[in-house]
């Protein structure tokens, strides 16, 4: 039997939506956290699965 996958669009989201770290910046925050986070993830995924996508 294959895996049963539920479409993400059919699964409710929470009423309290929480965006990724770094999408809100404070007046005294001097580093682009979101950029660093996404670059870090991209590097990690490339290292785990260089042929992915």
């Amino acid at each position: 039997m294959g895996l049963l996958k539920i479409d993400l669009g059919e699964i409710p989201e929470l009423g309290t939506s929480v965006a990724l770290h770094g999408t809100l910046r404070t007046a005294l925050n001097d580093v682009d956290d979101l950029f660093e986070l996404i670059v870090g993830i991209a590097i990690l995924i490339y290292e785990i699965a260089p042929d992915f996508a």
Binding site: M1, L3, L4, K5, I6, D7, L8, E10, I11, P12, E13, L14, G15, T16, S17, V18, A19, L20, H21, G22, T23, L24, R25, T26, A27, L28, N29, D30, V31, D32, D33, E36, L37, I38, G40, I41, L44, I45, I48, A49, F52
Partner: protein
């Protein structure tokens, strides 16, 4: 490298190579070592003690000049020398992280008074979730607008978030030091006559899991973001596991549905259901029955109602 000729590229590489020794020497210099010493024997989780040490350090800003001078000299000697700082620039400010250790990050920032005047007045303030200590090296004649709201606990709900309230503004003077608790306090610079130069110590201990943005006009909550990069990292990696079809990662999905961050718990369950609903079902049932966050219990309940019939059909088939 777009539009860069071979000579410039070679000069950059050479400058980077030559700069390594300067940076190594700088890291072992008195000023950098002094900063290491200030926070060395302080428990990284003791927010109060770290705040006290940062406040004491910022009582005198002379160390910052001593810290930067060797790097300024290096740039004067070679304009292609790159100081070892993470830097960020936008239309309003330029900032750089001068010192970073597990307990605290210290950054310097110049906020442009001209850019502040050109921009429309801010419409929102952000509660960072972290304790910060700021030394206004050059206050630029600015005022500090301040707001307060209740801290957000693990059961935080946007629908029930109280509004923030503005407190009395402070007129800043050169050399003043202010600590704020970003879990319940926010601040913004306003009315600067000249550029504002700040040193900011961000204490990592005791950080709230969420950052919140409130409207200045009516104080209402506008947006919420994760204050924890690890939670966001986990969210993205779980999405990657789903996209990669890694149904063997059930234990990782299960562990993430038990994370203290409520938004990560539900994000993990959504990814798991989208990958392998049958494996996720027992945990989904447990979350519907007993997750500490009411929104998760409700979402899990609704999801169960939709998923159970399909799983029964699939099992019969």
């Amino acid at each position: 490298m777009n539009g860069m000729d071979a000579g410039t590229r070679a000069a950059l590489v050479a400058a980077r190579e030559a700069g390594r020794g300067t940076i190594r020497k700088w890291r072992h210099g008195d000023a950098h070592r002094m900063l290491e010493t200030v926070f060395a024997d302080c428990a990284a989780e003791d927010a109060e003690a770290l705040t006290h040490r940062a406040t004491r350090l910022f009582g005198d800003g002379g160390w910052a000049g001593a810290l930067l001078q060797p790097l300024i000299d290096a740039i004067a000697a070679d304009p292609l020398f790159e100081p070892p700082f993470k830097a960020n620039r936008d239309g309003l400010r330029i900032g750089a992280v001068l010192f970073d250790c597990p307990a605290v990050a210290i950054s310097a920032c110049v906020t442009s008074a001209a850019a502040m005047r050109r921009r429309p007045p801010p419409t929102a303030c952000t509660f960072s979730g972290r304790i910060t200590v700021t030394r206004f090296v050059r206050a630029g004649g600015a005022t500090l607008r301040r707001w307060r709201t209740a801290p957000a606990g693990p059961d935080f709900r946007a629908a029930e978030a109280p509004p923030c309230e503005e407190r009395e503004s402070l007129r800043l003077a050169d050399g003043e030091v202010h600590a704020i608790d970003g879990r319940c306090e926010a601040q913004l610079l306003a009315d600067a006559g000249n550029d504002v130069v700040t040193l900011v110590a961000t204490i990592r201990a005791g950080a709230a899991p969420l950052m919140r943005e409130h409207a200045i006009g009516d104080g209402k909550l506008l947006r919420v973001a994760s204050g924890d990069d690890q939670a966001s990292r986990a969210e993205m990696l779980l999405a990657f596991l789903r996209l990669a079809g890694r149904a063997d990662a059930g234990p990782q999905f299960d562990a993430a549905t038990r994370d203290p961050a409520f938004h990560l718990r539900w994000a993990a369950m959504r990814e798991w259901l989208a990958l392998d609903a049958h494996a996720a079902l027992p945990r989904l049932e447990a979350m519907a029955a007993g997750d500490p966050h009411i929104e998760i219990r409700e979402a899990a309940e609704r999801t169960l109602a939709a998923v159970r019939p399909r799983l029964s059909t699939a099992c019969r088939a």
